[in-house]
């Protein structure tokens, strides 16, 4: 049985809590994300940002609360997990490209093995995606032959190849050398322009200001403040938000 929540929003999180043993790392989180929105999550280390986005695609089991993706409750039904993940792409901090596969096979393996799309068709789409992330010349390379920035762009292409409605990014640029941050961010900005719903954990405040529709500031497992980037960055209401900006800016 699929529960509906009657909302048209792309992702709705209701009263989500998550504990590891006695350690409660997410406390009663509620968020609504509209289709096409870019939501940027910021917060100090250990505040629960990674855990939150891992809950959204079921890499962590939630302790209590509900998560709806396009109106379908997904946090409690294992059988829907695989279906739901087809709609949600994820980009990891450390890329996690499949080390034994070429760039092209990394992108094609999902469409061919999971979505059962024909090889030629998947191949064509993979080449188009590689072009989109600016790596057409690297299709035959293995991940360990690429720079971090290139690997992350392939990882984005791999996620996009599944045709997701939502993309999750967990600090996609924080494992990169500074000179490679730009190339990854520009791919992400392009996606934002194409109106793909994005949830991005990042410390790149420039990105948040430029393409963010909403910024969420988390501290100690709570959403302390959320709002339009302009408002939050120029007039943070909460003391904790101000303290955080003072530390990082």
């Amino acid at each position: 049985m699929k529960l509906q929540n009657g909302s048209n929003d792309m992702v709705v999180i209701k009263n989500l809590s998550k504990a590891f043993g006695d350690n409660v790392v997410l406390k009663d989180i509620s968020i609504s994300i509209k289709e096409g929105d870019v939501v940027v999550i910021i917060g100090a280390s250990g505040s629960g940002k990674t855990t939150l986005i891992r809950c959204i695609n079921g890499l962590e089991e939630v302790t209590s609360g509900d998560i709806y993706v396009r109106g379908v409750e997904v946090a409690h039904s294992k059988s829907d997990l695989i279906e739901m993940r087809k709609e949600i792409g994820m980009v990891f901090q450390h890329f996690n490209l499949f080390a034994h596969l070429t760039v092209l096979d990394n992108i094609m393996i999902g469409p061919t093995k999971v979505l059962k799309i024909k090889k030629e068709e998947a191949h064509k789409k993979a080449l188009a995606l590689l072009d989109q992330v600016g790596l057409s010349d690297k299709s035959g390379a293995y991940p360990d032959e690429l720079s971090g920035g290139q690997q992350q762009r392939v990882a984005i292409a791999r996620a996009l190849a599944m045709g997701p409605r939502v993309m999750l990014f967990d600090e996609p640029t924080s494992a990169l050398d500074p000179e490679m941050v730009g190339e990854v961010l520009s791919v992400m900005k392009q996606l934002a322009k194409e109106k793909i719903t994005m949830i991005v954990v990042t410390h790149e405040m420039g990105f948040a200001k430029e393409v963010g529709d909403m910024v969420i500031f988390m501290d100690d497992g709570l959403i302390v403040e959320q709002g339009k980037p302009k408002e939050i960055f120029s007039h943070p209401k909460e003391e904790r938000t101000k303290a955080f900006f003072n530390k990082i800016l």
């Binding site: 695989i82 993940r85 792409g89 996690n96 499949f98 034994h100 999902g110 093995k113 791999r158």
Partner: protein, 224 residues
């Protein structure tokens, strides 16, 4: 008789023994790899009872001397299970391969398990994130990477298996070691015959070693 003519006379029998040694080794390696894969997946399962089964299997068959396991399957087991009737007239080879398979399978279980665990967790998470099932993740992402790391320890285990087949001589399987014993019981030429037996073992094992280093090099060069 000089050394050469003694060995010459014994050669057909020794080579027949060598052939059996190789055949028993291949059969054991084949079945033990399947058994090892099954119990490794048990040990890696999230289901506690399956893990327990895998652990018990490894503890039991690694914990006993192989010779005792061979005697147990050959002499003790038929007392409760009429294997000798079911498999008549092939009970002896079946018992030999079964005992070896159970023993080597326990070691291969651990090799495969360690290989799978050596693949970073991020690979599994990436596979799940593109909607792969657990089976697809194992099949397309984890096992291919684990396999590469398993080649050296598996080759060692296969070499060990060849040596272990010599214990089958105790249940009258006419592999190389037993052929040596039989020849010596009539010719009394211990030095010459055991030397010949040793050399044949070395040839078999060294050829497997060179196949193994070929594979290692091949995977080294392509790095996958």
């Amino acid at each position: 008789m000089n050394i050469l003519s003694i060995i010459n006379a014994a050669m057909p029998q020794l080579l027949y023994g060598a052939k059996l040694t190789v055949l028993y080794s291949i059969a054991t390696i084949f079945f033990a790899t399947i058994v090892g894969l099954i119990f490794a997946l048990c040990k890696l399962s999230i289901t506690a009872s399956l893990r327990k089964i895998g652990e018990s299997y490894v503890h039991l068959f690694r914990g006993l001397p192989l010779l005792v396991e061979i005697f147990y399957v050959y002499f003790a087991l038929p007392m409760v299970l009429p294997l000798h009737r079911w498999f008549d007239p092939y009970f002896t080879p079946v018992a030999g391969i079964l005992a070896l398979t159970l023993n080597e399978g326990a070691y291969i279980t651990e090799i495969i398990r360690a290989g799978v665990l050596s693949v970073p967790k991020g690979q599994t998470e990436a596979a799940l994130s593109i909607s792969m099932s657990k089976y697809q993740t194992m099949r397309y992402i984890i096992l291919p990477q684990a396999f590469k790391r398993m080649i050296p320890p598996l080759m060692n285990q296969f070499i060990q298996t060849i040596k272990d087949t010599s214990l089958l001589s105790v249940i009258s399987i006419n592999e190389l070691t037993r052929q040596g014993q039989i020849i010596i019981s009539t010719t009394f030429e211990s030095l010459q015959i055991w030397t010949a037996v040793a050399i044949i073992y070395l040839i078999v094992i060294l050829s497997l070693t060179s196949i193994s280093s070929y594979f290692e090099r091949k995977y080294e060069i392509t790095k996958r």
